[in-house]
């Protein structure tokens, strides 16, 4: 029988019980949400004992190396001593290179940071400013190739991070980053050929751009179609860059749409527009990003159209 030591208390695990289940059963209020190894809320650190790599699925290498794992996945066979995450170990320093508007409510933020290879295009990170405001943003480029991290930040009138970026942040301002997290990225080590359909609204575009750039840079075999949706014409940003990409790469199709157009883009809701491009649902991988209302609808329609659930990847903006 195995045990977990946490905050000077020793808990005995029942057979097949996870560390999280054990703590909760003993009324320890440990953070958790999905209990399935995805949300990473139950991140915990081993101080002593054997950590099985299967408990670390989806964690950044840096955290794995420091003994971090997910309490909901861990079923230790030997005594384990654990502690809550230490912020200094989960965070790295970065400097702002530039903040520049992409449209009326989206800012492009570029960051200088060491070890660019850790920052996977399309995954998301937590940005922590000097006021200790924390917000999550997706990586919108290939940091390793471009030498910096690019984020797309939506500016809300009362939003603390957005207002700080617009009004206070300057070049060289120091910030902290945590991450990267999430499973919405291009991963195709066997170089399989398949079609890709990417759909998102607003700054949901950011991870999709990163995924497209990754796929193109790895010479992806198959069509890559991007549908970017907005409420009105002003919501569509990054148009020139994407049109340029579609001219350079024949396999890439860019198709923006808005709900109410003043004439610049076709009028359509994003689910319908995305489905128009779904010609071989069984052989297509779909990437969906954006606010929950949009991604829920998109995922459902795409799933019902015949795309296997495992071929639908998404990170929801919460």
């Amino acid at each position: 029988m195995s045990t977990v030591a946490f905050k000077n208390q020793l808990y005995t695990l029942e057979p097949r019980e996870s560390v999280l289940q054990c703590l909760l059963r003993h009324e320890v209020d440990y953070p958790n949400s999905c209990q399935a190894g995805i949300c990473q809320s139950c991140l915990i650190k081993a101080k002593d004992g054997v950590v099985n790599s299967s408990w670390q699925e989806g964690l950044p290498e840096t955290l794995k190396a420091q003994g971090y794992f997910l309490a909901c996945l861990a079923k230790p066979e030997e005594p384990l001593q654990v502690t809550t995450p230490e912020s200094a170990e989960c965070e790295v320093s970065a400097q702002i290179i530039n903040v520049k508007p992409l449209n009326y409510n989206v800012m492009q933020v570029t960051l200088r940071v060491d070890h660019l290879e850790h920052w996977v295009p399309g995954q998301y990170l937590s940005l922590i400013n000097p006021d200790d405001t924390i917000r999550s943003y997706s990586i919108a480029n290939i940091p390793m190739q471009e030498g910096f991290i690019e984020l797309h930040v939506k500016i809300y009138p009362g939003g603390s991070m957005g207002q700080w970026l617009v009004n206070k942040a300057t070049k060289h301002t120091e910030v902290k980053l945590r991450g990267p997290f999430g499973r919405c990225f291009y991963y195709n080590p066997e170089q399989l050929a398949f079609n890709m359909l990417l759909a998102g609204t607003g700054t949901g575009l950011a991870p999709l751009v990163a995924i497209i750039k990754s796929a193109l840079s790895q010479n992806h075999q198959g069509t890559i179609t991007l549908v970017h949706g907005g409420l009105s014409d002003e919501d569509i940003y990054y148009k020139e860059e994407l049109e340029m990409l579609s001219m350079l790469f024949q396999s890439f199709v860019y198709d923006p749409c808005v709900l109410q157009s003043q004439g610049r883009y076709p009028e359509a809701c994003i689910e319908k527009r995305a489905l128009m491009h779904l010609n071989y649902p069984q052989e297509t991988r779909v990437y969906v990003c954006g606010p929950k209302e949009t991604t829920d609808k998109l995922k459902k329609q795409i799933f019902l159209a015949g795309v296997p659930s495992q071929a639908i990847l998404s990170d929801v903006f919460l």
């Binding site: 995805i38 829920d296 799933f303 019902l304 659930s309 929801v316």
Partner: protein
């Protein structure tokens, strides 16, 4: 001969295939689809994998308690025997599509039926 239907059907791969077939049927039937309106699909599919693994007799984490707690909010929204019947019907249809034998389908229906009272929050 492998003892559980879970193994005979092909283990985890079979569950992964079955969950898509089963969940599509549920989402396309308006008698039950509204229960899934405000639910994250990925989370839901994970839960349904757990459920299918259980009714197929595979290794699972499901208990009567988790079935009860997991459905309490739906019972408040009107979840009743008729909905459970629909679930069992679609389980059967899913297994038929995957080529399971009638005997196995009946067994799965019986396992699903055995948690009916837990799901509906009855004593």
């Amino acid at each position: 001969m492998p003892e559980s239907l879970f193994e005979r059907l092909g283990g985890q791969d079979a569950v992964n295939a079955a969950v898509d077939v089963f969940y599509r049927k549920m989402l396309m039937d308006e008698r039950v689809s509204y229960f899934f309106d405000d639910i994250d699909m990925e989370q839901q599919i994970l839960k349904q994998k757990g459920f299918l693994t259980m009714v197929f007799g595979g290794p699972n984490q499901y208990s009567g308690k988790s079935m009860r707690e997991g459905h309490a909010h739906l019972v408040k929204r009107g979840l009743n025997d008729a909905h459970v019947d629909i679930v069992i019907e679609y389980l059967g249809a899913t297994l038929t599509e995957l080529g399971a034998a009638m005997e196995d389908i009946e067994h799965v229906a019986a396992v699903a039926n055995s948690v009916r009272d837990d799901v509906l929050g009855r004593a």
